[in-house]
Amino acid sequence: MAFTLMKFDHIDAKTVAEATSALGTYKGKAKIIAGGTELIGSLRTRILPDYPSALINIKTIPNLSYIKEESGMLKIGALTTITDIAASSVVKAKWSSLADAALAVGDPQLRNMGTIAGNLCQDVRCWYYTSPRNRFLCYRKGGPLCFAVTGDNRYNAILGGAVCFAVCPSDMAIPLGALGATVVTSKKSVAILDFFKVLGNALDSDEIITEIQVPTPATGTKQTFIKNRIRKSIDFALSSVATAITIASGNVTDARIVLGGVAPVPFRAVDAENVIKGKAITAALAADAGAAAVKNAVPLSGNKYLVQITKTLVKRAVLA
């Protein structure tokens, strides 16, 4: 179901300051557009109660699309497309899980248009939230309740769900979380896992992402990204796992395991990390880590299967 677009102002920003000041002028009634892969769809299906009065195009800001290794970290400009990240030899060399995740996003056309910052800022895909013409005024939109709790919740959260059970759809956020990345905005720097909130993100209404910084993993770090989905292309994760496990003389010295697709935010499975820390990885230990990752899962009526899938994915990722 798609409808025609309604009237809105269109502003080509030339600098980051111009974009943020335009956001301030419209007082929350403006939206940022870069790749437009998600925004245009949501405007055409009119899923939100408020239609924006302006779109601020940031593709016109020069020098925001780059991938470079600088002072021991990877720096990715906000406007870098997902295709560029997937194909970058710099990324593939030391941050391979990031390149793997980039290849798992959408399909080639979406990756060509979509940007890294857009991937992190994309809206949730809960069936009730995205129903055309704002059919369900759910809690996330300012309504009284979450319809997924009593409705069909096969793709909703099993971990960390509170008032809203929609899951974080971003694939890039998962390895970025495992690698300990930082999001640099026009106002501040924030750790990637703090950037995500249950009902949105840490951006103010007049703030945009400018850069993503990823530290170089320590020597001996093994990275993986596994995404489970029903369709092998153009599909969001049922469950995904990214790991960054550092091994020295046979034992795990440091581990970060982040789960995607099963919680409203990228979910750091600290319990699973603690299981493997200080030990040598075996099949039995990996299975224990999987069980620990979903120890606190509270599935809804129709998504208990996600617990089983996540448990197995963590096991596979630790063993990989």
Partner: protein, 117 residues
């Protein structure tokens, strides 16, 4: 056979059709409002080229004489989609020993049949 190559590619398409029907496609309605939830190409999942099996299909072509068709001709490949659901259900039975008689065979249905959820 007028065009065997096209016939075989059409048969492959028929398999894709039947596979999507039994593995992914589902009309899901909200139980309390009756609103269709799988209302887009994203939510109503059709298989892509990547979802097809890697192995080449082994196809046997037989040329029958159809007394009702013009000059004995007979249309082909539409019927290919029909057995796919049963074939896939049988495959699950063969692999896991459980009979699932309702599609699509989503992870949820299979795990439920196996008693894992």
């Amino acid at each position: 056979m007028l065009n065997p190559k096209q016939l075989m590619s059409n048969m492959t398409g028929g398999v894709q059709n039947g596979m999507g029907y039994m593995l992914m496609e589902e009309m899901v309605y909200d139980q309390s409002t009756g609103v269709l939830l799988t209302n887009s190409a994203l939510n109503y999942k059709l298989p892509t080229a990547l979802d097809m099996p890697q192995e080449k299909f082994d196809m046997g072509l037989v040329e029958p004489w159809d007394p009702w068709g013009p000059f004995g001709a007979h249309g082909a490949t539409e019927g290919i989609s029909d057995p796919c659901a049963a074939v896939l259900s049988n495959a699950v039975y063969n692999a896991a020993g459980v009979r699932i008689k309702e599609g699509p065979l989503t992870p949820n249905r299979v795990l439920k049949a196996l008693g894992k959820v």
